[in-house]
Amino acid sequence: MAMTRGAKALSLIAALGVATATLSGCQSAVQLEDKKSEAPAEIVAGGTLHLAQAGDLAPMSVMAERAANGSWASSVLETLTMYDADMTPQPVLATDWTLSDDGLTMQLTLREGVKFHNGREMTADDVKFSIELSADPANAAQVGFIARTFTSITVDSPTQLTIEFGAPTPNVFDLFEQTPIVPEEAWKGFADGSSIIGTGPFAFDSWSPGAEAHLSRYDDYWGEPALLDDIEIAVITDSTAMLNAVRSGRADVALQMQPVDVTSLQADSSYKVINTSASAYPMGVSVEVAPFDKKEARQAIQYAVDRERIAEQVLGNDASRVTDLFWEPTVPGYPADLENYYSYDPEKAKDLLEQAGAVGAEVEITTLGLPANTAVAEIVRNNLEEVGLKPTLNVQEPQAWDANQVKGELGAMFLPLHGLGGVQPVTLLDRLPSLREGNPSHFWTDEYVELRTDLITATEDEYADALHALTEYVLDEAFTGVLVQSISQVVTTADVNGISFTSRGYVLAGDASISE
């Protein structure tokens, strides 16, 4: 019954003994890990790459361009074209494309000899199927709305496709960029992650939800076979745990690491930090709620916010850019002169508020309940209080926030987060909740519609002017305005080479290798 002191002592010693034996006798797990980080001597080909990401994979939503799939989707699945650094589409699965003069018909020529991971050759039927998947709302493709304007897709031959547009579609390459080509017979297997078949340099082996996934090299790849043997992806939700994983060598590449942790590794020369895609932190208001029905009030708050402090304290100067625009600088026709339309000017803000008769107004700021967003919201609240408003915060848990954003009901003032996804402004206009029809600002004037249409129908020469006009209008009306853009940063150990990223920030591991 009650253990005698002797028995207890004995069992403690026994336990210690087991522990010591395990630690010394058999292998030390720590030594194994250390060996992993002191990588194999000068091997360029072969080896396993270990990735860590903060959120679980989402293979059931490959069409939705979720950040969660950034670690693997572009290495396993491929698209028709891919943007280069200048946002010019480069051929991948499509080798040639011709647009008719009226801009309503496109002829696509597909690459030959491309094999899916299940052995079958890719044909134009697969491309048609994939585009139709994108158009189906149930697949939540963010660029699907582009495909829905197609009047027809005709398969002319196994390598030729003709698409008829309902109207000129300058952003068709955004669709091509983000629509993976998948085989019809395997689509069911995507839903539970049991068979994810693509054409990429890596095949998807397995996925343990919430835990890990495994990819291995596909030797029948149409291009240069990958250098790595396989890729292991671990899901690590806790930020400190992810940092530990990188530090201890358990992970070679870390995605979605917290900015503060990236900063702490940046100084260390055994790690590399790579900037990938951008996200925007806009500040929006509902033009139907006082005092924001007055333009002066809307502009006032844009002047009131200290964007520099947000960039510095919340995101880190290296991982952010202070800009009022929703567009990234790489976008063709980027209106650079409008970048800092609103400077930090509390005095001007106070004046404008007085003009609008909004001094002392009570404002509820709704924000997404993620750490960075909450910090941004606290700074904004502080700034607005300083210029004479009475702001309070309403931090919403992500699901609640998403549900409200989908409905377009975020209250008087709100601070969302939008991934910019490496697509054209024309696409962003319809894709970003803050800008599209039914936006939470309830802003949809005739002039706005007109300027949007001008941009969509603009020819190459007119494009920059049209973008400038639209941008200036949005800034002036101030129903929404970006506070800062954050730049996603990926951390790798110094011995990882050849990793690149799509404009969306997805990992391309085809040329990756681990070296001495």
Partner: protein, 315 residues
């Protein structure tokens, strides 16, 4: 004893049934749903609605519950809305990790809890009692994640003795797996032990004033015999109750520990399930947790009865 256990089965089933209803309704009262989670934050209403219909979430709640119940009695725990896999498969995948953690953590919890409690309640040297008591007082106040963090710093950073991130299952490789398991289990055990220790210490100190102890002392029993044979034995009862109750807390504590040690167990699974409103997965996990709590309480009563002949297992 078997009769006792058999009589308990109806009430256990009742508890499970009640839990299933609560666990079914409660998450659905929260904003958002799995369709929203799958669609993503930038989706349109149309997209979310389409996904919702595909998931069958537009049927009435009553119908959905009955569908699930029907499958349940046939042994089918339901399908995850988000992962499109059977709930049972998802749980079994991760169960081993948490079971390992819980078992070793319980061992630590019991050993440390009782050890510290005895030291504080009956050690002969006053210093030992004071030390035990202070350690206990301190441990009670320190949060589990701070304990875990300290262990990580001490044994993973300052002295690189043990791995602090990730896991290897014991069935895969016992030696390596155990090293990965040690710190997390210790952290969890340390977090739960002080409550038990404190209770044991208190009851032991109180028992020392009891009549029967005086009697034993008068009869000439040695201090050690007094402590162990008489005081401790009678004091353990309260601690057994406390230990039994803490089995339920193991699951809750596992959530934090699994996060900071990057282990992929059921604790992480339920957090992810709640975050993505994966209703059926949440429901089944809740039922499992409650079942474990109920069973551990039963076992507590059984152990108590075994220890003390004055107690009879009666309903």
């Amino acid at each position: 004893m078997l009769k006792f256990l058999a009589k308990k089965i109806p009430s256990i089933l009742l508890v499970l049934f009640a839990t299933s209803i609560i666990a079914f309704l409660l998450p659905r009262m929260a904003p958002g749903d799995p369709a929203q989670a799958v669609a993503g934050s930038d989706a349109t209403e149309e997209q979310v609605a389409a996904i919702r219909a595909a998931m069958g979430l537009d049927k009435s709640l009553f119908v959905q519950y009955l569908d699930w119940l029907g499958g349940f009695v046939r042994g089918d725990l339901g399908m995850s809305f988000v992962y499109n896999r059977p709930v049972s498969e998802l749980i079994l995948d991760r169960a081993e990790s948490t079971i390992e953690l819980a078992l070793l953590a319980s061992v630590f919890m019991i050993v440390l809890g009782i050890g510290l409690g005895v030291m504080g309640g009956a050690a002969r040297s006053k210093t030992a009692r004071v030390v035990a008591d202070s350690v206990n007082t301190l441990l009670i106040a320190v949060p589990a994640f701070v304990v875990g963090l300290l262990l990580i710093i001490l044994f993973g950073v300052v002295w690189r003795l043990l791995p602090v991130s990730g896991e290897v299952s014991l069935s895969e490789d016992f030696g390596i797996g155990f090293q990965y398991l040690l710190l997390p289990a210790l952290a969890l055990g340390l977090a739960l032990a002080p409550g038990i220790a404190r209770l044991l210490q208190t009851t032991m100190l109180a028992t020392q004033g009891e009549d029967f102890v005086d009697l034993a002392r008068a009869k000439g029993a040695s201090p050690r015999r007094l402590t162990y044979r008489h005081v401790l034995r009678t004091s353990l009862g309260a601690s057994i109750v406390a230990i039994g109750m803490r089995f339920g807390e193991l699951f809750g504590g596992a959530i934090i520990i699994e996060a900071i040690f990057a282990r992929n167990g059921l604790g992480q699974l339920i957090v992810q399930a709640v975050n993505s409103r994966d209703y059926l997965l949440v429901q089944v996990l809740i039922m499992a947790a409650v079942l474990i709590a109920v069973i551990s309480q039963l076992l507590t009563e059984v152990v108590l009865a075994a220890m003390d002949p004055r107690i009879r297992l009666e309903d």
